[in-house]
């Protein structure tokens, strides 16, 4: 472990480090619980400063922000490999409230929950399918998130993965019968992350993650590190 970046942590919380410094502190935070705890407290102070400036924005701004992303669905879909046009996914209010009440009730135990568990626990309005760790990549974890409303947003994976070796990437697959369909690529990312599936898994399909060459493969070439049946 490198030295704790104590001086830069406050600037990180303020969002005032340059990109290279930000990346360095970020990488340290991945593996340092002490600094993460310190950051939690500093973030409170940074947000407090920001709150002193809070001001009502023009009412039209919200609609402009949302409609800009609704409009180019087709292009986005192509960019990410065929995301289907989702309709708004509304969190049922009762479910959202139940989640918050349950989380508050958990008290301090929840603060100890790890990032991956917290990310999975935060999902609402969707069915979760845990993927099994096959032992190929120790520490890998994955959950398939399928929105309750099938016409809503695309299904996605919450993953915790180690860094792929140089020149390689993690690839998600939907396995239907004896056919594996490429369903998403994770390049240059590790740790806890999400990846939208470009192929919606149907009941009975399997979802798997393998290590492939950078850019992805048309068929899996290695054993899955994670796998689960829908």
């Amino acid at each position: 472990m490198t030295d704790h970046p104590r001086d830069d942590l406050a600037a990180y919380a303020l969002g005032t480090l340059d990109t290279a410094e930000q990346r360095m502190v970020g990488a340290h935070l991945d593996s340092c619980a002490t600094c993460r705890e310190e950051l939690d407290a500093l973030e409170e102070a940074a947000w407090a400063l920001a709150e002193t400036a809070a001001a009502p924005a023009p009412a039209r701004l919200r609609e402009r922000i949302v409609s800009r992303e609704r409009a180019p669905r087709g292009r986005l879909g192509a960019l990410f490999g065929g995301l289907r046009a989702p309709v708004p996914l509304a969190i049922p209010l009762a479910l959202a409230l139940a989640l918050i009440v349950a989380l508050v009730g958990l008290g301090s135990a929840r603060r100890d929950a790890d990032t991956y568990t917290r990310a999975v626990a935060a999902v609402v309005g969707a069915r979760l399918v845990a993927l099994s760790d096959t032992g190929e990549a120790p520490g890998a974890r994955g959950t398939l998130v399928v929105p309750v409303d099938p016409g809503a947003s695309a299904p996605y994976l919450i993953l915790e993965l180690p860094s792929a070796p140089a020149g390689h990437a993690w690839e998600a697959w939907v396995v239907r019968g004896d056919r594996a369909i490429p369903a998403g690529l994770v390049e240059d990312r590790a740790g806890v992350l999400t990846v939208a599936l470009t192929e919606a898994p149907a009941a009975g399909d399997q979802v798997a993650v393998t290590l492939e060459r950078s850019g992805g493969a048309s068929q899996p070439t290695t054993r899955p590190v994670l796998a689960g049946r829908v």
């Binding site: 500093l42 947000w47 400063l49 920001a50 922000i65 935060a122 996605y156 740790g191 939208a196």
Partner: protein, 198 residues
């Protein structure tokens, strides 16, 4: 009545809701982006307004910032900070980019110069925000030594990096870094003290 424990639980629950929203945004749900805006749009817009000095420009840059959130949601890493910190950094970077590429140099310098005095002005200006919390935060900032207030203002409102602050104020970089850290640490302690008394 608010106790530190309740504050911490509320914060943790809010953080979980935020992470859930980012997951939905990463999956292509534009309404989730709207919900994120509902939670933090006022603060992001307000910070950008203060950094850029014009409501029209702040509106444009806020829209750019949320577009970046849409594009980058898949790369958000919860272990590297809270969603709102990430969002704020995206907003501030968008403001700095705007200033560098499209802002007129004279206006840019004027905003940065004003930023150095902003915290002091805010201490005596009680009309901008009526909220008790904002007043308490400003009062807490007002108790910091002037050199710490100055670096925080130049960094936060002026959008200057620590190296730029060192150059502008003729102060060694290490000193600037220590002042940012000390200022933020004291501010955090004072705000925690406030929460306990509330």
């Amino acid at each position: 009545m608010s106790t530190p424990d309740v504050v911490s639980r509320d914060k943790a629950a809010a953080g979980l809701v935020d992470v859930g929203l980012i997951g939905r945004i990463a999956a292509g749900d534009a309404e989730a982006l709207g919900e994120l805006y509902d939670r933090y749009g006022r603060v992001v817009f307000g910070v950008l307004y203060r950094m850029l000095g014009s409501p029209e420009v702040a509106e444009e840059v806020t829209q750019d910032a949320f577009h970046s959130v849409w594009r980058q949601a898949g790369s958000y890493r919860p272990e590297r900070g809270a969603v709102r910190t990430w969002l704020l950094a995206i907003g501030r970077n968008a403001a700095i980019d705007w200033r560098r590429t499209r802002g007129k140099r004279t206006e840019r310098e004027a905003v940065i110069d004003e930023a150095a005095e902003l915290f002091e002005e805010l201490r005596v200006e009680d009309r901008v925000l009526a909220s008790l919390r904002a007043e308490r935060i400003r009062a807490a900032v007002g108790t910091l030594p002037v050199e710490q207030r100055q670096v925080l203002a130049l960094a936060f409102w002026g959008g200057l990096s620590q190296s730029e602050i060192a150059e502008r104020t003729g102060t060694p970089l290490g000193t600037v870094k220590s002042r940012v850290r000390l200022g933020m640490t004291k501010l955090r302690e004072r705000l925690a003290g406030e929460a306990e008394q509330a």
